[in-house]
């Protein structure tokens, strides 16, 4: 059996007092890609920040265990060592992840120096190899350029190279393609697929784009108001969705030459919503009178396919 690389149990994450992630449990196996999909504000980015230990997101309850280490219980130094070398993150806006007016070459060298891993000429060739493994044909030119001189797609591929430079085992991806046009999106996705087959990397992908989840993820989880409402094999979740929210999200995806996509009415609840009952109740097209108080823990609907609500069972 494959080992779990990252496990979260009833994870609760907040900024200061307010919780943005209420109760998230999943496990990510070595070599697996798991997508977490949901609307803006559902807590998916907060989840990634907490795992990476950046942006002030604090684990306030439950556990997140990476390769046997409880992230919340680790000493700050050990945690910093983990972030970057074992766990790496790619952000939505590739331009903002780098200094725009310094060459990639110097920024990559600094990245190695900050970890005490710069070894002169050996490191230079390591950086070049890292670029070559990305399938960037003109790596030498990109290394000499500054981020402000390159397109968004190119910068995002450089960000992938930076994230991979220290050889992490887990890559956290926060909307990696949302700021790019569709053809650049495709290039980045192909890049990530190649990396994955080369290195056996595990990825946790956060996106609102279900098409991206379909293209990249083995399993997909759907998040609403800080909780997972559905989790299963990507094909199960996207083709045989159980939860009414997943169905609503799928109706919002435009189909080539199809009718107008259907948006959800209303807006998601504000952070710090009540901890009990179904948070989707107010917007749910399949809501029944008893739903407001109903228990919303994930249940297994079919083997490996979990949902917090069986009303919309396929």
């Amino acid at each position: 059996m494959e080992k779990a690389l990252l496990t979260t149990e009833h994870l609760r994450v907040g900024y200061g007092g307010e919780a943005a992630v209420h109760d998230v449990s999943f496990c990510l196996r070595a070599g697996e890609t798991l997508a977490i999909a949901g609307e803006s504000g559902c807590g998916k980015t907060t989840l990634l920040k907490a795992l990476m230990g950046v942006g002030g997101a604090q684990i306030t309850g439950g556990r997140a265990v990476f390769d046997g280490n409880d992230l919340a219980a680790m000493r700050p130094n050990a945690r910093r060592g983990l972030a970057g070398e074992q766990i790496s993150m790619i952000f939505q806006d590739p331009g903002a992840a780098f200094n725009p007016i310094r060459s990639y070459d110097s920024q990559f060298r600094e990245l190695l120096r900050s970890r005490g891993r710069f070894r002169g000429a050996a490191s230079r060739s390591e950086i070049r190899r890292c670029f070559a493994s990305l399938g960037l044909s003109d790596g030498a030119r990109i290394l000499k350029s500054c981020p402000c001189e390159l397109s968004g797609g190119m910068n995002q591929r450089a960000a992938v190279a930076a994230a991979m430079l220290l050889g992490p085992r887990l890559l956290l991806l926060d909307e990696p393609t949302s700021a790019l046009d569709v053809t650049a999106q495709q290039a980045v996705v192909e890049e990530l697929a190649r990396l994955r087959s080369l290195t056996g990397l595990s990825m946790l992908l956060v996106t609102h784009n279900l098409g991206l989840a379909a293209a990249m993820a083995d399993r997909t989880g759907v998040m609403y108001a800080g909780r997972l409402v559905e989790l299963g094999a990507t094909a199960d979740v996207l083709e045989r969705p159980c939860h009414p929210y997943t169905k609503c999200l799928l109706r919002a995806v435009p189909a080539l030459g199809g009718g107008l996509p259907q948006g959800l009415g209303g807006s998601p609840p504000a952070p710090g919503a009540p901890a009990r009952g179904c948070a989707f109740f107010a917007r749910c097209p399949a809501a029944a009178p008893g739903c407001r108080e109903r228990e919303t823990a994930l249940r297994e609907i079919s083997p490996g396919h979990f949902a917090a609500c069986a009303e919309g069972r396929p």
Binding site: C27, P254, L260
Partner: protein
């Protein structure tokens, strides 16, 4: 105006940017026409000239050559204030298109006062009417842009654009920064406004799947030139240009995986 007479026409529009001895043609010889109540999709990769084209149409820049005809008059090289009653623009980042230190309602109200000549109570009533037309509750108008979601902000931006009661709305990647649900709502709103007000819309996006759901006709730009234009169904089912084929291949519809994924046949160690 005659129903079949175009509200907006571009004839061989070309825009060349110069800096010292360097010159780059951002759009070259772009021609199209837009009928009343029609939604035209403009698609292309980043850098294909989509935004440059819109800036020429809204008279925010002076084209190097070619002509822009708006409601039957030649507006080439005119100032934005000469055309703002007929043509309005909605931008990609709605939040940044508002003054961060004023409530969105105040911004919409100012547009009403500037563009419709109303003042006082009449302007406030018109403002509330526009906000309702954009599918929002006027009570949300007291919020500042930073307190609103991207989708709500974009609705206010559309309300502001409608203050001038324009004939043509130019949407520059108006849904690209929104999540799928908010994107679907905005697209539905635009389709509704077309039906209700007879608005003509130029909808610019890089997402061909999205454009194909909203627009009856699509124009594909590549390197500043028109690679192809035609009815949506024909373009989607039988694209003739490489640019359209590339965009079609990259359009993800969420209906199935386009990339081969390694299959996972081993059972998980833990239940979830």
């Amino acid at each position: 105006m005659n129903k079949t007479e175009p509200v907006l026409e571009a004839a061989a529009l070309t825009k060349r940017y110069r800096r010292g001895s360097l010159a780059a043609e951002a759009i070259s010889q772009v021609s199209f026409s837009l009928l009343p109540g029609e939604i035209l999709g403009v698609v292309g990769q980043s850098g294909s000239g989509k935004s440059t084209l819109l800036r020429q149409l809204a008279c925010l820049e002076k084209p190097t050559s070619g002509r822009v005809m708006l409601c039957g008059r030649d507006v080439t090289g005119r100032q934005p204030r000469d055309v703002c009653h007929e043509i309005q623009m909605v931008f990609q980042n709605a939040q940044r298109s508002f003054d961060p230190r004023r409530s969105v309602g105040a911004s919409v109200c100012e547009a009403v006062r500037q563009l419709s000549g109303l003042s006082g109570q009449a302007a406030r009533e018109r403002c509330a009417q526009l906000i309702r037309l954009a599918g929002l509750d006027p009570s949300a108008a007291d919020a500042f842009p930073s307190a609103l979601s991207g989708g709500q902000c974009q609705r206010f931006a559309i309300a502001r654009a409608l203050a001038a009661m324009p004939k043509v709305l130019l949407c520059d990647e108006a849904t690209s920064e929104l999540d799928v649900s908010a994107q679907a709502q905005i697209v539905g709103l635009l389709a509704g406004l077309r039906d209700e007000l007879g608005l003509s819309i130029v909808f610019v996006s890089h997402d061909l799947a999205l454009v194909s759901t909203l627009c009856s006709r699509i124009l594909v730009l590549q390197d500043g030139a028109v690679a192809e234009q035609g009815p949506t169904q024909a373009l989607v089912s039988a694209p003739r240009s490489d640019a359209a084929r590339a965009l079609l291949a990259a359009a993800w519809t969420g209906r199935g995986p386009q990339f081969s994924r390694p299959s996972v046949d081993k059972p998980p160690e833990c239940v979830l």
